[in-house]
């Protein structure tokens, strides 16, 4: 039962617990005890007797010492083929066995700047749409505010073209937060995209985002849905993507800390160690 005989000194055989029918008898007895509850008390009596018989057998197995049987070694011991070489490595960086990606990232600051630039670009396109379509630059602002102020959705186009302080403040806050967050995401995700980063930033993501908004807005706020020109919506998203991509990709990349050596991570500076966070 205990694990004291971990390497067997006796090479002739190996000791294992001896087979015993005690658990089988005991379990059958216990089941009959329960079965008697729904059939007949006599079944329970039989079960109890069987349980006791099984238990006594069981105690004979383990008291005063566990009964064991000695099994001969049957000699079927497989050989393990040694096959050195032939191991391909995923990457040939400094630490190939447990490679960590990405090796380089854009600084978070670049994402923030990209978000601001993208937000401005998007606002300009949206303003142009408002001016061209409804001859009021407040129109898109009010639409954005209407996503959280449900009353606005019921207003007609003339009312939406007017100045509303609440909608302006809310729209500004929403727009700023969204721009910053998506800018940050761009900063983090762009280095991970292997190819076509411009296509990802300025085509794929705007299309996906527009599709998501288009599909869900129809369910969330169908009235609002009628007020939006989706082609212009895509245009403003593309403007955001372009501006954000431009700012982010112009920033200087930095190596991730995972590739620093132990000394660098602990912040030691001495001759022979490359510059902190340098060309990882």
């Amino acid at each position: 039962m205990t694990s004291e005989d971990r390497t067997n000194p006796n090479r002739e055989g190996i000791e294992l617990p001896a087979p015993t029918s005690a658990p089988f008898v005991c379990a059958f007895g216990v089941t009959l005890i329960f079965a008697g509850i729904v059939t007949n008390w006599a079944v329970s009596i039989v079960g109890f007797v069987l349980g006791i018989v099984g238990a006594i057998r069981w105690w004979h197995e383990v008291l005063p010492d566990n009964r064991k049987e000695c099994l001969p070694i049957d000699g079927r011991r497989p050989t393990i083929e040694v096959s050195p070489g032939g191991v391909a490595h995923l990457m040939t960086a400094e630490s190939p066995h447990r490679a960590r990606i990405p090796l380089e990232i854009h600084p978070y600051g670049a994402g923030v700047k990209g978000g601001i630039a993208g937000g401005i670009a998007m606002a300009i396109v949206a303003g142009v749409w408002g001016w061209v379509d409804q001859s009021s630059i407040w129109y898109p602002v009010n639409i954005l505010g209407a996503t959280v102020l449900p009353d606005f959705a019921h207003e007609n186009a003339t009312q939406l073209a007017q100045w509303h302080t609440a909608a302006f403040v809310l729209g500004l806050v929403i727009h700023a937060c969204m721009s910053l967050m998506i800018g940050l995401l761009y900063g983090v995700i762009l280095p991970m995209i292997p190819r076509f980063r411009l296509g990802f930033a300025a085509v794929a993501v705007p299309l996906i985002w527009t599709g998501l908004a288009w599909a869900s807005l129809d369910i969330i706020n169908p009235l609002l849905n009628q007020q939006i020109n989706w082609w212009w919506f895509i245009g403003s998203q593309v403007a955001f993507g372009l501006a954000c991509w431009f700012v982010v990709s112009r920033s200087e990349r930095i190596g991730t800390m995972q590739n620093w050596s132990m000394l660098e991570r602990t912040g030691m500076e001495s001759p022979g160690i490359r510059e902190m966070g340098g060309d990882g």
Partner: protein
């Protein structure tokens, strides 16, 4: 060919990965106690949930379990059960020293104290059922009371049965110093039965009262 035991060149010698203080017997008993605690925990949680929710009203726990009416009975029994934990500890200590006779004496004392508790519970139940007509069907309080206290008594019974088995083996001269560990594990179970009684007593006789 290569074997699994040959230490490869340059590899650090593997540490013995097992904890020194925890063998299989102890670990198994601790797990058993843990699962028992969740079992009793469920019963007691239900008991606590139903305190004061009886639509029938009478008899209330206060009427039935008034410690002031029979001030000594339950407390007296509880003291017997709790002190038996001390005797079993002393017994195991004697066995570890190889002192079989002293072990038998303390062990018997444990059994007798446990038995007193069981008999005391029996009298209490007899009084409630036969004299006051208070059964498991009477109301919610009756259901909870008999289930919780009954399951605890069942565990005491199982414990006493195992303790008696060890005592019989001792009398037959089959217990030796090398069995200390198995006997100690049994004492852990007995400590658990005692410990859970403190919780049952607190909830049924003090909080529920």
């Amino acid at each position: 060919m290569s074997t699994l035991n040959a230490q490869p060149v340059g590899a650090p010698t593997p540490p013995d990965a097992l904890p020194q203080t925890l063998n299989s017997g102890k670990c198994g008993m601790l797990c058993l106690i843990a699962s028992e605690i969740t079992f009793f925990g469920t019963l007691l949680a239900v008991y606590l949930f139903y305190i004061g929710k009886d639509p029938v009203g009478t008899p209330t726990p206060a009427e039935m379990l008034d410690v002031s009416v029979a001030p000594l009975k339950v407390v007296f029994n509880s003291i017997f059960l709790l002190t038996s934990s001390i005797w079993i500890t002393l017994a195991v200590r004697q066995l570890a020293r190889g002192n079989i006779k002293a072990f038998a004496v303390w062990w018997l004392l444990t059994i007798l104290f446990g038995l007193e508790f069981l008999v005391g519970t029996g009298f209490e139940w007899y009084g409630l059922i036969a004299e006051q007509g208070f059964t498991i069907r009477t109301n919610l309080f009756g259901s909870g009371f008999y289930t919780v206290v009954g399951f605890h008594a069942a565990h005491v019974t199982i414990g006493l049965f195992l303790l008696s088995l060890v005592f019989v083996l001792t009398c037959l001269g089959k217990m030796h110093q090398r069995h200390t560990e198995k006997v100690e594990l049994l004492s852990w179970y007995w400590h658990f039965v005692d410990g859970i009684w403190i919780v049952v007593f607190t909830i049924v006789y003090i909080i529920g009262h």
